[in-house]
Amino acid sequence: MTRQLHLHPLLDLAVRLAVGVTFLIAAPHKIWDVEAFAQATYNYRILPDLFLHPVALYLPWLELVAGLAIVFNWQRRGAALLCAGMTLVFIGGISAALFRGLDISCGCFSADGHGVGLDLLLRDIVLLAGCLILLFSESLPWRRSGGSQA
């Protein structure tokens, strides 16, 4: 039988909060101002025009749903897989922008926020690591201190 990583509940909670809250913070401004997010997405010049609005409409809600699911440890594997997938897409977009020398705003947390750069790439790689930890692990059950051991 394959074995799986089980994290201390506090460590598990810390990773879930770090990943989940990042996605939760990122979502609202994109949901509120779809066209500003579409503009930020357009600046990357990797998405066909046909998909610009559908992606700008869907992605922020996916961030919100997956972020909430991660924080509340609900549908954990699916949420972690979606967050990892989204983060991989972000890493791809930032890498492409860096490779082509584009001086654009990343559009991550606000429309005119942080410009794309290596620090942003590093942040997303750390975020991806958090997603993968959640994807391939479970939380150990909480135990009272001094409780009986089996």
Binding site: M1, T2, R3, Q4, L5, H6, L7, H8, L11, I31, V34, E35, A38, Q39, Y42, N43, R45, D49, L50, L52, H53, P54, A56, L57, Y58, W61, L62, L64, V65, A66, A69, Q75, R76, R77, G78, A79, L81, L82, R100, G101, L102, D103, I104, S105, L135, S137, E138, L140, R143
Partner: protein, 166 residues
């Protein structure tokens, strides 16, 4: 209590969970899209979007003044054979796809302190990308020619190689 343990893995349910979350998201997106006014069109009107090029856009008239003053170096960023298309006389051909090789050939003629005007076609992404590569290498990019070669021609700008144009 240890920070982590290895225990037998339960049956994976990630596919079902992922599909469920995607479906929930789809319902929320559809609901918010239907309720929201004004409704964001599913097909984007691309004329409403402007590329954030990260560089100033120079009008053809302004570019002509700079060209005639001889203070700026013009760079042709189009992915073309230089002998097959008209180009601004004196421009250097430096393309995004072969940036390093093209730049190496003209290193003796273009210096980082030289102000550059980059041009291409009316689509500004390509010259924008080349301008970005120049900036990464420490060059001074003054701007990108708005409208490219065609706008330059319409503004009465001189072109070389016109006779070979179809």
């Amino acid at each position: 209590m240890p920070l982590f343990e290895l225990r037998p893995a339960p049956r994976p349910r990630w596919l079902r969970q992922t599909l469920l979350l995607l479906l929930i998201t789809l319902v929320l997106v559809a609901g918010s899209w239907l309720l929201r006014t004004p409704r964001v069109p599913l097909k984007a009107d691309m004329s409403r979007y402007e590329l954030d090029l990260g560089f100033p856009v120079v009008s053809p008239d302004n570019a002509r003044e700079l060209y005639e003053a001889g203070t700026h170096i013009f760079v042709d960023a189009r992915e073309i054979d230089p002998e097959s298309e008209p180009y601004i006389p004196g421009a250097f051909f430096i393309r995004a796809s072969s940036f390093e090789d093209d730049l190496r050939e003209v290193l003796d003629f273009i210096f980082p302190e030289d102000p550059l005007i980059i041009y291409g076609t009316e689509q500004l992404q390509v010259p924008g990308a080349v301008a970005g590569r120049f900036e990464q290498r420490g060059y001074e990019v003054t701007g990108i020619l708005s409208g490219g070669v065609e706008a330059w021609r319409k503004a009465g700008g001189e072109l070389a190689g016109e006779e070979v144009a179809p």
